[in-house]
Symmetry: C2
Subunit: 202 residues, 2 copies
């Protein structure tokens, strides 16, 4: 069932997001005000409050939408664990997350970059971490997550944060590698470890 949303609502909401991403590339998120947002959008300040409880709520909704999309993408690749071999020709599912970040580059640059959001990085990491845990539980038929050995959990936390951190570095370098290369790169490092990785002189 498709909810029909008033075109005016859609227009102002997307406009506000566009303006936000513009403003946020000049100054940290925390210094952006509702007044500034609506002024540059040419909207009445009151209009903002018809849609959001406050600026915090505005960010939250924006983030949640992206997080949901990201979640839908990564939950497909069920068992990242099984494959112990690093691949040279990555399955599409492993490339997709990087493609998504690239598609939403304006968002990620702002929210994941300096002066960005306090929690997005953590939230992404947590999402990926959960994915690892789910895969582990499926493989070892472990009912509840608390039963997973501590060090195994640390491994997942390690990998998840390395994953997000690598993406952040990728953004910082203005996406100098392709999504495919990123998928290969990550699989190589994380599976082989720093001691066994040797890159051909690219």
């Amino acid at each position: 069932m498709i909810e029909k949303i008033d075109r005016r609502i859609l227009r102002t909401r997307t406009l506000l997001r566009e303006v936000l991403l513009d403003l946020a590339s000049e100054k940290p998120l925390k210094n952006i005000t509702v007044k500034e947002l609506t002024d540059t959008a040419g909207l009445n300040r009151g209009t903002f409050y018809l849609h959001y409880q406050g600026i915090q709520d505005f960010y939250e909704q924006f983030k949640n939408e992206i997080l949901e999309q990201f979640h839908r993408i990564i939950k497909k690749l069920g068992h990242k664990l099984g494959n112990r071999e690093p691949f040279k020709d990555p399955p599409a599912g492993y490339v997709r997350p990087f493609e998504f970040v690239f598609e939403q580059k304006r968002f990620f640059k702002v929210f994941l970059g300096p002066g960005g959001d306090t929690d997005l990085s953590r939230q992404l990491t947590e999402l990926i971490n959960q994915q690892f845990i789910n895969a582990y539980r499926a493989e070892y038929r472990q009912t509840n997550a608390a039963d997973i050995p501590a060090k195994q959990q640390y491994l997942f936390a390690y990998l998840a944060s390395a994953y997000v951190g690598t993406i952040q570095f990728w953004i910082q370098r203005e996406f100098d590698l392709s999504p495919i290369d990123m998928a290969i790169l990550f699989s190589q490092i994380s599976r082989l470890g720093s001691a066994h990785v040797h890159f051909p002189f690219n």
Copy 2:
């Protein structure tokens, strides 16, 4: 030459920090105001502005002091790279960073946890990343950092963010492992990779 600082100055500054860490364990940093800070500290609001330009400056100074201390600790261990073997009996230098985090647990819980600081995680990662780069330059007699192969740089970014992420997870788990165990854990995962790590059942 040791600068003698008026005891009153020292008292109010440390008091403000204490109060901050108290308040911040109840609510996100961004919702803490100067008024709230000084009220609960029993200080006049004007006094705050005798010491800091604003709340942002206050956070900045606090962070920078910790970052400097952390920097002093990790710059000692020159070449994390050389050791390709994971160790079971870690050198003191590799344990020290974890000890430091543990000593400053109140600070790190607040600034690195949910509702914490926007940039500290990134700044720590950057600090460690630089350490890797320095070590690499020393080893390969590479004069400037830009000449380091891209994928090598990605490896460093990967490791640095994994390092910080592991610490964050450690904090989240209320420091369930000892600093020594953390040092061992990190060296094992990062050197062997997820494919070759096998933890004894504990």
